[in-house]
Symmetry: D2
């Protein structure tokens, strides 16, 4: 390890061993764009498949002990002990609970911002049900994303909707268990086009403040206007004690759900630098929901999750390497180039040795991606699942004939 | 009419009577975002419905005598005389032919840019088939949009793909009928995220130049990076004699397919100003494919098309009102405010009198949207089509129960 | 007047008579881009010229009774009774006080975010001095914009700077007079490039909340990332009782300082629609700082200000025309097209009659821009000021020889 | 060196020894934003200083044997043999010649696009004079950037201007020496705001094609709309044999002139990957103008240039490491993750050993930046130049007192 860090190698390796990231159950299913889905034979057909696949990611990386779930898709009939057991079987646990209040026809004009009180009640009820599921699964986070917004000027009353959403969030917040945290995501575009009710970190911050003390802001890396400095938002939210967690992914233009750091790895490093700074200041691990939110249309799904988790680990390792004393000293001297060089030295440092040590301690292969690719799991899953679809009469769309 | 124009009212009214816009058959079907579809009872179930609905738009506006078709959806088995007859029944004709080389599973890694020669051949063949259909329907335009591109750095060889696409387009161009025009659309994002092969007007320009003399560039208003000056692209393409036509719609951030001019009407006016300038210079109507490309998730579909066509008509009327002599004089004097005022006077002019006259001459209602809304067509279509779906066993997704 | 409004013509005309906008003293001086200044002979040479020119805008529009000042440029030696008297002579008053903490060499690494406590003190002291000037001039607003930020990753500690700025603002806020309001502007880019300390409305909101109850957020129309829905920010800030005012201008890509509504008039209309909605709800005029912030490199300066003020007036008139009952009814029916049509009818309405009446009541010409252009003032000013520069030995740069 | 490359270490080291980048004379002078300049004591006062500083960059990096010049600032009276001699004294040569047709008052409404034929002639004449200077200095490149455009809709006739510019470029092209190349830069914004005549690569491509066979397109990394895939433009221009060279810098939002790769190093790597691909295909070094275009307001100027040149060298080294056979194989297998991994392995590879070898061969310090910082040159230059300004009576603005 290059001597770029003020932390000891032991500290860094230890921190990386404790560093865990949650992956999403929906990352293993068929998915696509509005123009269609490109089907993968090895895609998960049912919840058993999803959890099995998630178990693979954890097996090869040692970093993903929990799996985020979408209530509508994964617990369609409410809490289901069977799902928890399946997770156990595959060596993972149920993580963040994601209500779905965007898919039903009734949500055409909004969920908790809908002008129809019955629909708002239904949406709020689904969130409260999700909180209850979370209590039973022992999940700490209930993670809320709202597709709500409007497509056209005039369509909706921005302020009325703000009031309605505030009330719903307060009602839901009241039902949180003592250790449960409500995460409020934001996004400035899509699927609503003219405005989205949870448009940016400022909006989610105010919604969270009004909802209650266990409500925090969730930062999805793909949910910003171009040109936004995301690490600044992260720094501010940490400073305000309002950062709840992340949805990791990357993007080029819109909310592209690409593998994390595939487009701009330095940005991810800079975000992690703010996290590590907080840990340096407090002397303890930050408490956050570290979650991947990606579902892949082109890349093989398990591989893409492994690749993502490895990229996150690598960049967190680099952020841990930042020599914080040297950085502080350069900043104190207004040595702009010196301070920047401290960051760049950490970013370009070779962390392969550190990662090797970490993976050894975690008992996983030195190259998780290669090991998984060599394992034959994907090919086998493809075979089994083709048959399963046939047996269950599931037709997800035609293959190239 | 305010005296803002150097053209006579007769000229303007006459031009507006000749001003026609094509609407898309796919604008009447169920559609949605990648997060789901919000179903409309009155949405078209089959081609008969689509053409009937298109006929309504024409009936009430007098401006949409032709309907663009998607070959895969509208001519799934190749040319079908029946479809032409149905169109006739509803008072419209088949317009631009749109091949679909993005939906089949084989196009996962590209169509005419696919490294597999068989797939490129298949895509090219489909385009050539579409050209043949166009000959039979008497359609002038074959309108090509490619979803081709890559999602990740390294995934694809940009230059190889450029060569493959060039060859395919040349092969297809050779089969064009004498009066057929090949339109090449461009788009910098979605569904490919890292790069798109037809990324901008410069790329489509070069592809078109290489394809052959009947290939032109198609400008879709929603297919630009933010900040782009679209009227400049239009002016340049006119100047290069390479502008083939438009796909009208509007957007706030991405390719939102909103009704034209719903977000930025002044931009549409400025684009039309370049068109009218060309007509002023040449003394004749410009020859272009004027096409709407919108499919509506939230708005009732027929209404949205009528609204769009009316907005286009209104803004074209305003562009016709620009006092070109006064504009030229102000420009010659470097009177920036004066020149701008000429545009603004036309943009803010009350064109209701002109539109009233035009609609009277076209034999359509003074307020097409209101007349259609009052007609009861939508309610009746909803009823019939609910039954049709039931009869045919079509389940497009559940309603709010 | 078309019957588009639920308000009476009397109400609208009355409201427009009371509708005043502040113009900036710096809008009359030579200005430019980082590539150079294009000099105008008629540009103001000194404070007398600036106030004389501002007086012209007020004389011809009847809408600009106050003039915003930059302390460093306009009150270089602190409060100066002479300046107030000059203003009176030209029929205007001193409006918002703008400290300048970005120009001195000491602010290279920040003003109230500078790590050097002496520099922070100096910046805070200048703000407090500006507040004192405001008390003496009777100005209600102290308007703060900070160029603070960093150009490179690593350069600065985002959170330290946040703390420093918070403390300075609190110190300054304590010295506010009872009726004084501190406005906090935000801007995501320029001149700092990597991050700006006051980056967006969320940041300014939190700074304002922490500063004290008389601190509010200032929205400059050119200070947003592309794709931002500004009317939503305005609606939220009104709802939070945190909107302090506006800096009006327009932009295509960056902070271009173009005349308001020259690029996107419909957006300005939609912003005003949120204002008028608030006035409708409360039954009284909103209390805001309505300020123009433009300085023109290409357009003649007085003309550009008159054109701007007229554009603002026209679009506010149109917003007043929105039929709020019809809008509410369409929204209540989820009639998206109907609601949008209410807005569009107001936006496209011919307000020339209304403006004529308003201007008559205000005792100003029916066409202020034309009247000013015909007045000969500019030509005369040019002549006088060429001589003044010669007399004073001022060389602002060479003309074309 | 990790075994990531299909090229030998010798090849890579050899290529890097031949890899040279040009730095700009204007990068050593005082500079700023439109809000003001932050002065540096060590900034160059005159041409001797500029070339001395450029010599330092070359001395410490061994990579910058040539210096781009701005005719108006560096050859104000036409060709000057003295300047060439000074350059020699400092071990550098005069590189690309940059005419300046944006600073004079006469260019307010355009240079080669100005409607006044006299002004177009003057601008064209200055370009031709610059070409003549280039012949005498032995410079290969004449590098053209035009600030031309318009700030407001209606202000200018886009197509007329296109014709005027085309004619001027043709006239200038005729005077090119046999080995001279005319580079045409593009930029979509600033200082013109509404449109720029050379708005994007498509426009510069067409202008270059029309100008003549020695006209090529220049890609400035900071001159694109957000979201643009720059490596694709580079690949296309190489493929069209129309890429003339680069202006290196980086940006967050606008044309920020930040040190290259300071914001997005992976993007620079991907651009270089396209260059290396071309060299791989042809088996020889590409022929391009590799130029830095940065002028620093905050960073010490010589250090910033050294840092930039080192970043470019490092990222070019990484691009040389790309295992092109493995990349081609992964692409051929449509192994998206595999192909991406090839790129990432090269990007994250430790190239310190390679750079050490290269620098040893070039006879420069292993860490050029550190060596320069330790040399005392900057402190000495500051002292000398403070005195020089005093002696010459140059007042560039006040320091913090």
């Amino acid at each position: 390890m290059a001597k770029v860090s003020s932390a000891s190698a032991e500290h860094i390796i230890g921190r990386l061993e404790r560093f865990k990231v949650e992956i999403p159950s929906w990352g293993f299913s068929q998915t696509g764009t509005r123009f269609g889905k490109f089907l993968q034979d090895a895609a998960a057909v049912d919840m058993d498949d999803k959890l099995a696949d998630a178990g693979q990611v954890n097996k090869y990386t040692g970093m993903t002990p929990t799996v985020a779930v979408h209530v509508l898709w994964d617990f369609p009939n409410g809490y289901d002990r069977q799902v928890v057991k399946i997770a156990e079987k595959y060596g993972v646990k149920i993580g963040a609970i994601n209500p779905n209040v965007f898919q039903d026809q009734c949500y055409k004009y909004g969920s908790i911002t809908n002008r129809d009180a019955k629909i708002r009640k239904r949406a709020t009820g689904h969130i409260i049900d999700s909180i209850e599921i979370g209590k039973k699964t022992g999940s700490e986070y209930v993670s809320l994303w709202f597709a709500d917004g409007a497509n056209y000027p005039g369509q909706a009353d921005i302020r009325q909707r703000k009031a309605w959403a505030t009330k719903s969030l307060q009602d839901a917040h009241k039902t949180l268990g003592r250790n449960q945290i409500m995460l409020l995501e934001y996004k400035p575009f899509e699927p609503a086009t003219y405005f989205t009710d949870f448009c940016d970190w400022g909006a989610s911050y105010i919604f969270a403040k009004n909802a209650g003390k266990n409500a925090k802001v969730l930062v999805d890396l793909g949910h910003h206007l171009l040109g936004q400095n995301i690490e600044q938002i992260v720094a501010w939210l940490i400073d305000e004690k309002m950062l709840g967690g992340f949805h990791f992914n990357d993007r080029k233009y819109a909310d592209d759900d690409l593998t994390t750091a595939s487009i701009d790895p330095y940005q991810v490093f800079r975000i992690f630098n703010e996290i590590v700074n907080e840990e340096w200041l407090t002397g303890k691990d930050i408490k956050l929901a570290w979650m991947v939110d990606q579902s892949h249309n082109i890349k093989p799904k398990i591989q893409a999750q492994i690749q993502t988790v490895m990229a996150i680990q690598e960049l967190f390792a680099k952020a841990l390497l930042v020599d914080r004393k040297a950085l502080a000293a350069a900043q104190a001297a207004e040595d702009v180039i010196g301070a920047e060089t401290v960051l760049r030295d950490a970013f370009t440092a070779d962390v392969s040795g550190i990662l090797k040590a970490v993976r050894k301690n975690l008992g996983v292969p030195a190259n998780p991606l290669k090991a998984f690719r060599d394992s034959g799991y994907e090919e086998k899953a493809a075979k089994t699942r083709i048959q399963k679809r046939k047996d269950l009469g599931i037709n997800e769309g035609g293959a190239f004939a």
